[in-house]
Symmetry: C2
Subunit: 122 residues, 2 copies
């Protein structure tokens, strides 16, 4: 009798792993968290605003990632009726449910950096 997986065999764990996969699949790519994080700070932002705010991103990637996020109902795109036509990107109500996750992400990274700093002093 060959050995088989045991730990993840429990349904609760399967569901948990599935959840992790789903989340990471929706938030895949280099820029999704940055875009969402930026939209959490600056409520409504235009395309060029985001291009300026997010350091290093190019227009192609920004455009593509925004489309992904819009498709998944996390970000809304509103064309404004202004003289030079402008577009407002903002988080949807559903997109805002990601706040705790992104806050945890930022928090852990900040604490990680602090722990590096402390360990260098010793």
């Amino acid at each position: 009798m060959s050995k088989k997986a045991v730990v993840n065999n429990t349904p609760v764990c399967q569901v948990r792993m599935q959840g992790i996969s789903d989340t990471m699949s929706i938030l895949s790519g280099k820029w999704k968290f940055h875009i969402l994080g930026t939209l959490m700070e600056g409520n409504k932002l235009g395309f060029m605003d985001l291009l300026r705010e997010i350091d290093g991103i190019g227009s192609k990637m920004l455009s593509k990632e925004l489309q992904d996020l819009e498709m998944n109902k996390l970000v809304s795109r509103t064309v404004m009726n202004t003289k030079p036509i402008t577009v407002q990107y903002s988080l949807t109500e559903y997109g805002k449910t990601l706040s705790p996750l992104i806050d945890e992400l930022a928090k852990w990274g900040i604490e990680y950096r602090q722990s590096i700093y402390k360990s260098k002093k010793n």
Copy 2:
């Protein structure tokens, strides 16, 4: 005068974005979250255990990702003094600080899947 970034100019936001980048950089790749999530369930696991538990991963990637995690002090590797030599992988105390993050990740994914299911019923 050309327009410049304003939202992310605040130090607090810079730090926040930096934190997100740091976390994602340490947890980069397709398998880190799965490995960590599995180690959270099954306390101490061998290499072959992990290979069986994590669906789809190959030995090369598992080996490489475990080395990454060990380098960042998130996972500990202990060679056991058994007859067929075995290795125990487990989360370090520091690695356990990722629990809230990974729980959020799993939780959001589970709720996402439920919201899809509900929207199909209507």
